[in-house]
């Protein structure tokens, strides 16, 4: 029995675990880094222990530090959350060796399921249907190529120790296999320390359907129904829902039974997830088992009415599960989306930046799990997930509509987010019809999610917000001015030029003050704007039409939330043109990340498009290429260096 838990995690999941632990009367201990000093989990916990500067290797991934923190703080148990050390068998063993309770399965189960090849052998032995494939000790290209021919194409190359999309490659034809093996090995080695690969028949456009299982230490194992996580981008889940739109009771029973068998095969304890691929014919194949609490657990909570974290803690305390399989009732429908600090218009690259304004949605059937607080910086060190937005409703359509609204109403301004992309996905006809498979996003967004040129209405709104912000700043500094004089001039309208940047677009506008509002010209279009409220929720009238928006101004940047659109405009200051023009040969980091390799050397001549360096960011390797041909003047980075977005990496003299 324990009465204090150390939460070995950060962000929304740490906040989530602390909430349930506190409700159970347990004392909570958080761990944090300098980069996370302002993060909400630090404030929420009863106690917080500093474990490092920023990089995960010296903090959240450092088992010794965490264990030390738990012992110093007198915690009797460690909850690993997801990610980080949650599926690290050595850490789990170390926790138990130190006499503490690891809130999760036994190290053996973690290890068994952690190795894809071993897991698959175990599952086949337990009678759980598996995808035809190959796993073997002979990792030579020849052996793998031979096996690939037997399985047939398309097929998946995967890291045996992997998960979460890393080291995973889809190969359509034999010619591409050799290259895929090389890339997958290097990613696998970098991510997991092992370059062992497995091959699997690729099930084309299946649904990703996973089952939540729960086991106690009294031999009870149940499942809590499925989650359909078919909407994925590069094997990262984007939308998750319960129930699966095509689920039938007998299929659920069959898949649920297989999931329970999978758990039983590794003598499972606590919360786990068994992932399957479900094809169009209703056949399903074991994919992997995640031996931890999933990111998407809230949808299960919303339809079952259970608190999975509380259940985890109860099981870890040695209690029996409070319900049987028959007692599990799925009520209504729940859908979740993940709000990321990423830029869909720029290849979904992770972004960093401040959280200037944070307004989570609320209301009936809406839940937002977040690890966000205003004033916080989204740092380059950690996963860019900011929050999960979840909606529940009596029907799928009710839940979907509620979620769209909740995505619109959840406003985070400061750093770029994928909010507009999420709302767009939820509005895709195939998704609305419940027909989404893992191929949905590739088909719906073949060109990615490019930004579009800002509409004159949004430009006018941004201009009016900026001007009103300037006016209010002047008013604060000014002497004796009556408010009813604002916007008034005895002179004819006095328009001023104003240039804004919106992504790749430059917008030239002009604006004059009027009593009560602003007259904005964007090109040949005149828009009269009045604003009520400022910095925060405001209601605008633009040429007589009402628009509700949330706005935030920070320096020369104005951010707007209009519907699900999140728009960022930068006011272009005079005299700064020269610097912008000179940046042609400066190669900067397009996102925060770790330099894996530097291929350019000073003095080398490079052609446009040549690879200069490789940057690893958020699980992906990105080639940094030359935008111009010329000679490398200077290289500012070395392999192993952590970069912030915009850091200068290499400079090229054109020629």
């Amino acid at each position: 029995m324990f009465d204090a838990i150390l939460v070995a995690n950060r962000g929304e999941i740490a906040a989530r675990i602390i909430r349930s632990a506190r409700e159970m009367g347990l004392r909570t201990v958080a761990v944090y880094t300098t980069a996370d000093a302002k993060a909400p989990h630090v404030a929420l916990a009863d106690e917080a222990v500093w474990i490092g500067e920023g990089p995960v290797g010296d903090s959240y991934l450092d088992g010794d530090k965490i264990l030390g923190a738990a012992q110093r703080a007198g915690a009797g148990a460690v909850h690993p959350g997801y990610g980080f050390l949650s599926e690290n068998a050595d850490f789990a063993r170390a926790v138990e060796a130190a006499g503490l309770v690891f809130i999760g399965p036994e190290p053996g189960a973690i290890r068994a399921m952690g190795n894809k090849a071993e897991a698959k052998r175990l599952m086949q032995a337990a009678g759980v249907p598996c995808v035809p494939g190959h796993e073997g000790a002979d990792q030579s290209d020849a052996a793998l190529t031979q096996a690939a021919q037997e399985i047939g194409f398309p097929l998946m190359v995967k890291a045996a120790a992997g998960g979460g999309g890393r080291g995973m490659r889809l190969v359509h034809k034999a010619d591409d296999l050799a290259q895929a093996l090389g890339l997958a090995r290097s990613e696998a080695k970098g991510a997991f320390g092992s370059d062992e690969l497995i091959l699997e028949k690729a099930i084309i456009e299946p649904r990703h359907v996973e089952f939540q299982v729960f086991a106690d230490t009294h031999g009870n194992i149940i499942h809590l129904g499925e989650r359909d996580c078919s909407v994925q981008r590069r094997h990262q889940k984007v939308v998750e829902e319960v129930p699966c739109p095509v689920m039938m009771p007998d299929l659920r029973a069959a898949m649920g039974a297989a999931a329970v068998e999978a758990a039983r095969a590794v003598n499972y304890r606590g919360a786990g997830t068994v992932e399957f691929l479900l094809d169009g014919s209703g056949a399903f194949y074991f994919l992997e088992m995640n031996t931890r609490l999933q990111v998407e657990h809230p949808v299960t909570e919303m339809v079952t009415g259970l608190d999975l974290v509380a259940l985890q803690i109860a099981v870890a305390q040695g209690e029996a599960l409070p319900l049987t399989q028959e007692g599990v009732v799925l009520n209504g429908h729940a859908i979740e989306v993940r709000l990321y600090a990423e830029d869909p218009a720029n290849g979904y690259l992770p972004v960093t930046g401040p959280v200037d304004l944070w307004q989570p949605a609320s209301g009936s059937g809406v839940r937002v799990d977040a690890g966000v607080v205003e004033g916080q910086e989204v740092s380059p060190f950690y996963d860019p997930m900011l929050a999960k937005i979840i909606a529940h409703g009596p029907t799928r359509e009710a839940a979907r509509r509620r979620l769209v609204r909740a995505v619109e109403d959840t406003v985070l301004l400061g750093t770029t987010t994928n909010a507009a992309f999420l709302a767009d996905v939820l509005g895709q006809p195939a998704f609305a019809a419940g027909e989404a498979t893992t191929g949905l996003l590739d088909r719906a967004y073949p060109q990615g999610f490019p930004a579009s040129e800002p509409a004159p209405r949004d430009v006018a709104l941004a201009v009016a917000v900026l001007m009103q912000h300037d006016r209010d700043a002047a008013l604060v500094r000014a002497g004796y001015v009556s408010p009813d004089q604002l916007g008034w001039s005895s002179a004819p309208l006095l328009p001023r030029g104003l240039s804004l940047n919106a992504g790749e677009w430059r917008v030239d506008a002009s604006v004059s003050a009027m009593r009560g509002g602003w007259q904005v010209w964007v090109g040949e279009e005149r828009l009269d704007v009045t604003l009520e409220g400022q910095n925060g929720s405001l209601r605008a009238r633009i040429n007589g039409q009402t628009v509700d928006a949330v706005a935030h101004v920070a320096g020369d940047r104005v951010q707007l939330a209009v519907g699900a659109e999140r728009l960022t405009f930068h006011r272009l200051r005079a005299g700064a043109q020269d610097e912008a023009a000179a940046s042609g040969g400066r190669v900067t980091a397009p996102m925060p990340g770790l330099v894996l390799a530097v291929e350019a050397a000073p003095g080398a001549s490079v052609a446009k498009g040549d690879t200069l360096a490789v940057l690893e960011a958020m699980k992906m390797q990105h080639q940094i290429t030359a935008a111009i041909s010329g000679t490398v003047r200077e290289v500012h980075v070395v392999a192993g260096q952590q970069l912030a977005s915009g850091d200068v990496m290499i400079e090229i003299d054109e020629g």
């Binding site: 001007m467 009103q468 300037d470 006016r471 700043a473 002047a474 008013l475 604060v476 500094r477 000014a478 002497g479 004796y480 001015v481 009556s482 009813d484 004089q485 604002l486 916007g487 008034w488 001039s489 005895s490 002179a491 004819p492 006095l494 328009p495 001023r496 030029g497 604006v511 004059s512 003050a513 602003w518 200051r573 005079a574 005299g575 043109q577 020269d578």
Partner: protein, 539 residues
């Protein structure tokens, strides 16, 4: 006191008055639009030089959405040309009081889109007025410079002689503890070079900003030296060699931003005591109705209280001695919560009216209450009865009181303002803090009709003395010519063209204008400035 309006909105008179007044306002706006349109024609040429237009400079200098009171917008009207259709008001300069980084400033912008910003007699009159305004109201002075200087083709010796006051005033501003800043957007040569020379702060714009005692042409003529304009006086040179320029800007817009930063760094309002918060009510009666209740013909009488009631807080006022000197109206009211004394006219000023006004002015002086004069008088009463009643000495008391009272005075010409009545009612020569005219205003020694009539009487008397027969046709022609001569000079647009006021306003803006002026006066008087014996010298 609750004032009961007698105005009938759906009467023919109201409709006629309104149509007449709005036509005059339309004419005013049309005149104001002329320099804007003319200057705008140079936009492409300025942009090709990497410049922005003078009005864009001004708009970027000012805090967006903060009030702006333009001054002398009609300066030079009917001075530059006798043709009312061809004359371009503005005197190639844009002047006003506005806010820069939250600081109320007098701002002067050379309108280089018109005759390259060349200075004329009326440019100078308006400029001097702007400087006097800054000195009087304790306001920083900002000048956006781009001027070809004085037009040599129109050289007049008195222009040069008086021109020295421009620079003397800059020295006075600096010595008075009132910072003055110049942005060199373009050339500033010859005497104009002392504009930056005497400015406390100079922002020089690269490439176009230029200041030299003589440009390359004059240098060549005077000394034979073949000089280059940029070496003679380019901003870059002044920033690094001569030391005339403090801040070097990349371009016009950058220069304006730098000026805003410099003004912000003054922390100018640090010495301003916080204003006591007053709540006040907007006028109960609609100010828009002023256009319909005021006849544009000053000969038609109306009650000036109808105007005041639409301008003051809550449409409420106290009537001071309403039964005594009844045609001179003295009211106690408030505008934007600021207590004011108001003097208006319902006709000529008689001895009782003059003494009442003189007493009222002294009472306002005693209580430190700003005064507002609504001029609509044909003057002091004439005739035996009034002379015997002491019209001269009573009128003199009123003029003396106006001259000596030390509270802010704001004068409005809202109708007639004739003869010594104009003096007693704080006219131009009495240097009110602010003086604005409505477009229907008529000012002068007397009305054209009276002048013509007077001269006709003189002519008839002369003929009678000489026993000659009056040539009626010639006399009629003479009378018409005299009336026209007077009336042409009496109109508000004409007098404003000669800078005999601070500008002509839409009557419906009266409350806003008065509020702004009062706040400017109060702010200026409340501010602690740090005068020195000398202006700040540039070493």
């Amino acid at each position: 006191m609750g004032f009961v309006s007698q105005v009938v909105r759906d009467s023919d008179t109201y409709a006629r008055n309104r149509a007449d007044m709005l036509a005059l306002v339309e004419e005013l706006r049309g005149l104001e639009a002329r320099p804007v349109a003319l200057s705008e024609q140079r936009r492409a040429r300025m942009e090709a030089r990497g410049q922005i237009t003078p009005r864009d400079r001004l708009a970027r200098l000012l805090d967006p959405g903060m009030p702006f009171l333009q001054l002398h917008s009609l300066a030079g009207y009917m001075v530059d040309s006798d043709d009312p259709e061809a004359s371009v008001p503005g005197a190639s300069v844009i002047i006003g009081i506005g806010f820069v980084s939250g600081v109320r400033c007098v701002v002067v912008v050379d309108d280089s889109g018109i005759k390259a910003g060349a200075m004329t007699q009326m440019t100078m009159a308006a400029f001097l007025s702007a400087q006097e305004m800054a000195l009087r109201q304790n306001l920083p002075f900002v000048h956006l410079v781009e001027s070809a200087g004085a037009n040599l083709m129109e050289y007049k010796v008195e222009l040069w002689a008086n021109g020295g006051k421009l620079f003397r005033n800059l020295a006075r501003l600096s010595a008075a503890g009132l910072p003055n800043l110049a942005i060199l957007h373009g050339p500033s040569t010859a005497g104009g070079a002392y504009m930056p020379g005497l400015a406390d702060y100079v922002v020089g714009v690269k490439k176009n900003g230029m200041a030299a005692l003589a440009g390359a042409a004059l240098v060549h003529a005077a000394t034979g030296e073949k000089a280059d304009d940029r070496d003679l006086g380019g901003s870059e040179m002044h920033a690094s060699v001569s030391g005339l320029v403090e801040y070097l800007a990349e371009d016009d817009a950058h220069g304006v931003e730098m000026a805003r930063d410099v003004i912000a760094r003054l922390d100018w309002n640090k010495s301003l005591p916080p204003r006591r918060e007053r709540s006040y009510a907007e006028p109960r009666l609609d100010i828009d109705e002023i256009a319909g209740l005021v006849p544009t013909d000053y000969r038609i009488p109306y009650d000036v209280r109808e105007v005041v009631a639409r301008v003051v807080d809550g449409s409420e006022f106290e009537d001071f001695k309403p039964r005594y000197g009844v045609s001179t109206v003295c009211l106690q009211a408030a505008i934007n919560g600021i207590a004011v004394g108001i003097i208006g006219n319902n006709g000529p000023i008689d001895p009782a009216g003059a003494t009442k006004a003189a007493q009222f002015i002294q009472l306002c002086g005693q209580a430190d209450t700003p005064l507002i004069f609504f001029n609509n008088t044909t003057g002091y009463m004439v005739g035996t009865q009034y002379e015997q009643a002491g019209m001269i000495k009573h009128g003199a008391k009123m003029i003396q009181a106006v001259t000596s009272v030390d509270v802010p005075r704001i004068t409005l010409y809202i109708g007639a303002s004739f003869g010594a009545g104009n003096y007693g009612m704080s006219g131009y020569a009495y240097e009110p803090d602010f003086l604005f005219a409505w477009p229907n205003a008529t000012t002068g020694v007397m009305g054209g009709e009276q002048a013509a009539g007077t001269m006709e009487m003189v002519a008839r008397a002369g003929a009678r003395r000489k026993g000659e027969k009056v040539d009626e046709a010639r006399l009629a022609k003479q009378s018409a010519a005299i009336a026209a001569h007077f009336d042409r000079q009496a109109g508000a647009f004409h007098t404003s063209g000669r800078c005999l006021d601070h500008g002509v306003i839409d009557p419906r803006d009266t409350r806003l204008v008065l509020g702004f002026c009062l706040e400017t006066c109060l702010e200026g008087r409340a501010r602690k400035v740090k005068p020195g014996s000398y202006g700040v010298a540039r070493f």
